[in-house]
């Protein structure tokens, strides 16, 4: 067990692709770090550099305090679980799990003991004599895990190990891997593009986009204090509602103006986010679906937005209500780009030149909503505000946005 530290690590491929750009990331001893991001953002590349399967173009990578840039994979003492498991097809389950030990020149007896121990942890005892091709997907996944844990390596590296499993098995293995990691306490770097996996498994999450690290933090930190609109949109399902808005000065402070509707901002929020500087400027307002309160519920003093109900999706015990706001939707180039990254399907659906902004609210499935206009409450204490041009969260000190130290 050791820490894994990326210090300004970059990767350029021969064709000029900048797959990973000056990555700074510290994974503490025994920590479960999840790297998450849309397809092609450099997650796999970052992981493969730690494994030694990809050269590091610049920067330093250390494992257990030792710089490993020049070390061969076999000298790094790490274990990796591949997306398609890469089980050796011509070897039995036993031989597959024993292979890493064989390379350590252990005695036959010792190998047998350790393999059987690993098989017992993973419930593979009955399958030791079988070939990988005769195993189910979940069993193969376990064999791949067995090959990793049998050796007590310095770190586990896993590249989307659950993506080949069906949904139900994925949930089960998710819990199993998490439990195993906590039990063994081995430093783990886990790559996924599934944000549910990221939120449920990791101690901390690193969000990447286009080779650049966006934010590192605990699942809750990312959810409650996203440092830019990308993280805001990427973390959470359904995604945060992002709306163009203006901060206008009123007689008693600042108000958020969305599509001509003015919401007076609480003084505490103005203070906390340092909004005075942004008076009369355009911003992006972010409201999580659960912070839109259905008409007639919540305190009467709750500031409200007049929204059109256009439909609802029932997933008892909750429902997702589709709402619309008559306004020019958020169409800054960077925002569109982000929508495309976060949800390519939705991006394709964006009606060109339409003038309504879709929103989603999450509420209990007990209540039925008729289509039509209604006043929805907004929990302004939980409001997120982002710079209109850069997309950075307002009121966050720069140090909180990237890096991250220890657990």
């Amino acid at each position: 067990m050791s820490s894994v530290v990326y210090n300004q690590v970059s990767k350029f491929y021969a064709d000029g692709t900048k797959a990973v750009d000056a990555l700074d990331l510290q994974i503490a001893e025994g920590e479960f770090m999840v790297i998450v991001g849309p397809s092609g953002c450099g997650k796999t590349t970052a992981l493969r550099m730690a494994a030694g399967l990809e050269d590091i173009s610049s920067g330093e990578l250390s494992i257990g305090g030792k710089v490993v840039n020049a070390l061969e994979p076999r000298d790094r003492d790490i274990a990796m679980v591949f997306q398609n498991y890469a089980l050796y097809p011509h070897m039995s389950v036993f031989e597959n799990i024993a292979f890493p030990l064989e390379n350590q020149k252990l005695s036959r007896e010792e190998i047998r003991k350790r393999v059987e121990g690993a098989a017992a942890i993973l419930g593979l005892e009955e399958h030791l004599g079988r070939r990988p091709k005769n195993l189910s997907g979940g069993q193969r996944q376990r064999v791949a895990m067995g090959r990793a844990i049998v050796r007590r390596p310095k770190a586990f590296l896993m590249d989307e190990p659950l993506s080949n499993l069906d949904a139900k098995l994925r949930v089960q293995m998710r819990a199993e891997i998490t439990r195993l990691q906590r039990q063994l306490g081995v430093t783990t770097l886990y790559v996924t593009h599934d944000q549910v996996e990221a939120m449920t498994m990791g101690h901390r999450i690193a969000v990447m986009r286009k080779g650049v690290l966006q934010q590192v933090g605990t699942p809750l930190e990312l959810y409650e204090r996203p440092s830019n609109i990308f993280v805001a949109a990427f973390v959470g399902s359904p995604a945060m509602n992002l709306l163009p808005a203006t901060l206008a000065a009123t007689a008693d402070g600042l108000a958020l103006v969305i599509a001509g509707q003015s919401l007076a901002l609480p003084a505490a929020l103005v203070m906390r986010l340092g909004l005075a500087r942004y008076r009369d400027r355009q911003v992006i307002a972010g409201i999580r679906p659960e912070h839109l309160v259905p008409p007639g519920e919540g305190a009467a003093t709750l500031p409200a937005l007049r929204l059109e109900i256009v439909g609802s999706e029932l997933i008892p015990p909750e429902q997702l209500v589709q709402l619309e706001l008559w306004t020019e939707p958020l169409r800054t180039p960077s925002a569109l780009d982000i929508v495309r990254d976060v949800d390519p399907v939705a991006a394709a659906d964006l009606p060109r030149g339409s003038s309504t902004q879709p929103l989603v609210a999450r509420c209990s499935s007990d209540r039925a909503f008729a289509n039509g206009t209604a006043d929805w409450g907004v929990v302004l204490e939980k409001l997120h505000l982002f710079d209109f041009e850069t997309g950075k969260a307002l009121g966050l000190s720069d140090s909180a946005s990237a890096g991250g130290h220890g657990r």
């Binding site: 494994a51 030694g52 399967l53 061969e72 994979p73 076999r74 003492d77 790490i78 274990a79 990796m80 591949f82 398609n84 498991y85 890469a86 089980l87 050796y88 097809p89 011509h90 292979f99 890493p100 390379n103 350590q104 990988p132 091709k133 090959r147 050796r151 590296l157």
Partner: protein, 279 residues
């Protein structure tokens, strides 16, 4: 649908195929009857059924020609074939591994170099080959023959192996690297076993070429104690008279082991050709 799918059309097809198979057997029929004919009858009535069956032909053929018995010739053929094929599998797979996994230009260049080796007609180089092999003391013995065939067939082996290896996913090797295996171990424990389907192809293709070759073996082994089956058989064809019944009897003897081998290993060959990599 009917419970049986045997239809008149199927019957016709079956009969046709049986007839076709019989046509295939005609050469074997003549091979068998000529092999047991008395000496003179080979010329007077070559196509007819023998008047007396002379099983002694086999015994005489077994005695061989040029002082080398057919048994020894058979052994020589086996040594040359097995030696060549083993060497080809070893060198071919290793060379192809380097070529297929090399990302630099040199990998591509080496590949072209070997492909050109397939195209160039080796017959043009026979004279210099002969003289250089003779000065190395490699003419008239099995080792020389093995060296020669290995050299000639290596391009084909490399070509077959490299094509297969390029399609082989890197994951297994990468997993082995991370698992702490060295280069040699990765090749022999992981890569080579995965190559089994091509290895079978290479073994059969090159093995057949070597076993059936006559030209080179005649040139390099004629008159030596290392002479192989084709050369030994050719010994029955004299300057003035050819003892065809001896040749045919020798052919009968020489195909016997091959036939036995095929019957025994048929199923495994089929698997080798049809099965790919399955994980």
């Amino acid at each position: 649908m009917e419970s049986t799918r045997y239809r008149p059309l199927a019957a016709v097809r079956e009969v046709l195929f049986i007839l076709l198979a019989l046509v295939w057997c005609i050469p074997f029929y003549y091979l068998a009857i000529v092999a047991v004919k008395p000496d003179m009858e080979v010329f007077t009535a070559p196509m007819s059924f023998p008047s007396t069956i002379v099983l002694g032909n086999f015994a005489e053929a077994w005695r061989g020609t040029g002082g080398v018995g057919l048994g020894e010739a058979l052994l020589n053929s086996v040594i040359v074939t097995v030696g060549t094929v083993s060497l080809l599998i070893f060198l071919g797979s290793l060379t192809a591994y380097v070529i297929a996994r090399n990302t630099q230009r040199i990998g591509g260049l080496l590949y072209v170099f070997f492909v050109v080796g397939i195209i160039l007609p080796y017959q043009m180089a026979i004279v210099p080959l002969f003289s250089s092999l003779r000065s190395l003391g490699l003419v008239g013995n099995q080792i020389g023959m093995i060296v020669l065939f290995t050299g000639l067939l290596l391009p084909m082996a490399v070509f077959l192996y490299a094509g297969f290896m390029r399609a082989l996913p890197h994951d297994y090797e990468e997993a082995a690297q991370v698992d702490g295996a060295g280069r040699g171990k990765i090749f022999f424990r992981i890569v080579f076993p995965l190559l089994r389907p091509v290895t079978a192809t290479v073994a059969i293709m090159t093995g057949m070429i070597v076993w059936n070759d006559f030209f080179l073996q005649l040139i390099f082994l004629n008159g030596s104690s290392a002479q192989t089956l084709p050369v030994a058989m050719y010994g029955f064809v004299g300057e003035f008279t050819a003892r065809w019944n001896m040749v045919f009897a020798a052919v009968c003897i020489s195909i016997a082991p091959i036939l036995a081998f095929y019957l025994f290993a048929q199923r495994r060959f089929m698997q080798g050709f049809t099965g790919g990599i399955k994980s």
